[in-house]
């Protein structure tokens, strides 16, 4: 059987070009070359796969020339047409981890070629991309290379062959929110007794089903000068321009709305409505200010109580309890709000 073809992505450091001083090294394709960690990968591929090309890119270069680097690399990968794309492992190198995640996700998403990477669980790239591509969990430094490629290589081979991927605990990737069945060595009751013994002894134990995200974020400092502050409105109450031009779904929306209210002094029955299916919409349709208080904030803007009302508002129909679905949207529009110099947000929910 022919070997699977692999394209491998690494940074300037692992290509032995140099450290931080060489981080601006532009993206480069080396066809037919196996570089650095590619050797260890090749050994672990046994006879099932081979690296046909290595792509090297400096970490700063990648992040500072994101669009160009991404486009160049995608073009090269497309041309090489591998069965699977491997990035890293990046261990605890933050920018390298983000680059590995970004490019692996892009290869998978845009070229339809399965991709896998590896990094330390606290690498910022892990949280950003673990639900998009398989990320093998590694130690926090390159001393963990042997261990990392032992998991990375077989997973890459499986992905390349299009085989079913087992549970995260079997394959060594970070839990990605997709639940996969598998058979444990011991029955559930025995595992429960062992878990209880550890918990009783205050020893670390690992739950088989982590509860949904209950983490907390510390409050930001208060707004100092309200009279000069730019305030933005966000709502989970689904307020949209009349006719719902972007077709925001009535529940668990697949996208969010961004609407310009420059010059809008009051939301009226003729101009705005709610797309939300999570409550009786009659009152919000009559007067959307009941959910998104544009009228009042315009008054306050005029009176000089607040600096200005941001000209864009953001809207989704995620209800209060469906945290997961709206998280990604919020991450995205929060970046925009930050970039637009918004000082504070009023978020209204039903």
């Amino acid at each position: 059987m022919a070997k699977l073809k692999v394209v491998h992505y690494i940074n300037q450091f692992f290509a032995q070009i140099g450290g931080e001083e060489k981080a601006d090294y532009p993206a480069e394709l080396r066809v037919g070359e196996v570089v650095g960690p590619g050797m260890a990968l090749t050994q672990n591929f046994k006879d099932e796969a081979e690296i046909i090309a290595t792509i090297i890119c400096g970490d700063s270069y990648f992040n500072e020339n994101l669009e160009k680097a991404k486009a160049d690399i995608l073009a090269w990968v497309k041309e090489q047409a591998p069965d699977v794309f491997v990035a890293g492992p990046a261990f605890n190198a933050g920018r390298y981890g983000v680059a590995c995640g970004t490019i692996a996700a892009a290869v998978q998403e845009e070229l339809g070629i399965p991709a896998v990477t590896g990094m330390y669980v606290e690498n910022p790239g892990a949280d950003m991309f673990k639900t998009q591509v398989y990320i093998v969990s590694t130690k926090n430094n390159a001393a963990g290379m042997r261990d990392a490629v032992k998991k990375l290589a077989p997973l890459a081979v499986k992905l390349g062959k299009g085989e079913a991927i087992g549970a995260s605990s079997e394959e060594g990737y970070m839990p990605n929110g997709v639940r996969v069945n598998f058979f444990e060595k011991e029955r559930g009751s025995k595992r429960a007794v062992k878990m209880l013994l550890k918990k009783l002894a205050d020893k670390p134990f690992e739950t088989e089903f982590p509860m949904p995200d209950f983490d907390r974020v510390d409050p930001n400092p208060a707004v100092k000068d309200l009279a000069h502050a730019k305030i933005a409105l966000v709502t989970s109450g689904g307020i949209v321009p009349k006719g719902n031009p972007d077709h925001i779904e009535s529940s668990s929306a697949s996208h969010y709305g961004e609407y310009d209210i420059a010059g809008v002094m009051d939301l009226t029955e003729e101009t705005y409505e709610t797309a939300h299916g999570g409550y009786d919409p009659v009152y919000a349709n009559e007067d959307s200010d009941r959910v998104l208080p544009v009228d009042v904030l315009r008054d306050m803007e005029k009176e000089g109580k607040i600096g200005e009302l941001h000209h864009l508002f953001y809207t989704t129909t995620g209800n209060g309890t469906a945290v997961a679905s709206s998280k990604a949207f919020a991450e995205e529009f929060s970046k925009k709000l930050k970039a637009d110099g918004v000082d504070a947000v009023i978020l209204t929910s039903t």
């Binding site: 549970a167 058979f183 559930g188 009751s189 595992r191 007794v193 878990m195 209880l196 949904p212």
Partner: protein, 426 residues
């Protein structure tokens, strides 16, 4: 309480003129067991069949699975308040026929479920592919109400199991195990340094085909109480439910409750296994609150350090599970919960209908929505007609080549929430 369990290993089951157990072979007089089943006039006819591990046989729709036992010493009899008179059980000597089960089948409602495959991929998931099964399919008299039919089949299974258990009364067990619990004071004195641990078992209690009985009492009507864990080995708890077969406890699981056995394994070594606490899963929310309050209260009154909580069923029991966990943890008692998941066919949906940060130690029996293809098998005991109408199946389930495309939900005991199996998920 001290219970001696004598295990008699059954190597084969055969139909014969006379019922007896000889050299590990169970000979069953079809005529005799039929007579036992037909004692109830609501049952019109019954047929018996034998299904052995590895055979190309599918049993469906399964109602209950029961291990035959006999009480040879001590108070009471097997299935107190149901078959035997009401008397406290759990001490003395009991024999069990190991490696076999009585399986009851019969169409009580049209969407009933419960498949046991004796071979193929389905056999990997249902624990009852590994037992020699004496299957009884019961047909009711005409015009019977589902309530009456359910009860008739439930009791017929217990009668037959007790009849078979009786055959072992004079035998010498192949193996004997002793299970002994202490009274509260004894335990404190005997194991002063061991953590005090109990098993909290939640019992399905919602309505027809969703019920459980404790000493014959409908579990809907109990308030949480404590048992000696040996009581369940004599049949103190029996199953009256079979809808959503993957995560319901057949009577076999109550008799062989794995949490009870694995806790006994550690009893006196790493833990002091104080008792079993039983509670219910009612539909009415105030009942849920009362029961979880009481369960937490009992944990506190018993000065427990830790508990394992097991769930039974899908959906609203998630609320009971989380209430129990939260309230028990709030009493300072460390908690591990056992559940299963409904994460959707793609594994991406939220697995439970409730959650709380206090539930930080969870054992899972796997995702019941996982799709599995069950190949056509040579023989069907019961009828496939109903398979197309069971949970996780549909009229479209039966594929052209005779195989079935179903979710794990339909396989009896596949994602059991007492930790009976090795299946898990991450």
């Amino acid at each position: 309480m001290r219970l001696e369990m004598g295990h008699i290993y059954i190597k084969d089951i055969q139909f014969a003129a006379e019922s007896k157990i000889e050299d590990g072979i169970l000979y069953v007089s079809e005529e005799a067991v039929k007579a036992v089943a037909l004692e109830d006039e609501k049952i019109k006819s019954v047929s018996f069949d034998i299904a052995k591990p590895g055979e190309s046989v599918r049993i469906t729709p399964v109602k209950d699975v029961i291990e035959p036992r006999v009480k040879v010493e001590g108070r009471g009899g097997i299935f107190p308040g149901v078959i035997a008179k009401v008397d406290t059980v759990g001490e003395g000597k009991t024999y069990a026929l190991k490696g076999m089960a009585v399986v009851t089948a019969g169409k009580i409602v049209g969407f009933q479920e419960g498949i046991i495959d004796m071979t193929g991929p389905g056999a990997d998931y249902t624990p009852f592919s590994k037992t020699l099964n004496l299957v009884m399919v019961c047909e009711p008299v005409d015009g019977i109400k589902p309530h009456d039919y359910e009860k008739a089949v439930r009791f017929a299974g217990f009668r037959v199991a007790v009849y078979l258990g009786e055959l072992a009364r004079e035998l010498t067990p192949d193996e004997t195990k002793v299970y002994e619990t202490c009274t509260i004071k004894e335990g404190m004195e005997k194991y002063p340094d061991l953590p005090r641990v109990a098993y909290v078992q939640m019992l399905q209690s919602q309505g027809l085909l969703h019920d459980t009985y404790v000493y014959g009492v409908d579990a809907k009507k109990i308030v949480p109480t404590i048992l000696s864990p040996t009581e369940v080995m004599d049949g103190a708890i029996v199953s009256g439910n079979c809808v959503s077969a993957c995560d319901k406890n057949p009577t076999y699981v109550h008799l062989n409750n794995p949490v009870v056995h694995d806790m006994f394994e550690q009893h006196g070594k790493t833990i002091n296994f104080v008792c079993q606490i039983i509670t219910n899963e009612n539909v009415y929310l105030a009942d849920k609150q009362r029961s979880s309050d009481w369960t937490a209260k009992l944990c506190k009154m018993l000065d427990l350090d830790g508990v394992i909580v097991s769930q039974e069923g899908f959906g609203n029991p998630d609320t009971d599970l989380i209430m129990n966990c939260k309230k028990i943890e709030a009493e300072g008692v460390k908690t591990v919960i056992i559940t299963d998941e409904y994460a959707g066919r793609d594994g991406k949906s939220q697995s439970l209908a409730d959650s709380d940060p206090a539930a930080d130690a969870v054992v899972t029996g796997g995702n019941a929505n996982q799709v599995i293809i069950l190949p056509k098998l040579d023989k069907v005991i019961g009828t496939l007609d109903y398979v197309t109408k069971i949970a996780g199946a549909s009229e479209e389930t039966l594929r052209e080549d005779g195989s079935l495309e179903v979710e794990l939900q339909v396989l009896t005991g596949a994602t059991n929430e007492t930790g009976f199996n090795k299946l898990s998920a991450r």
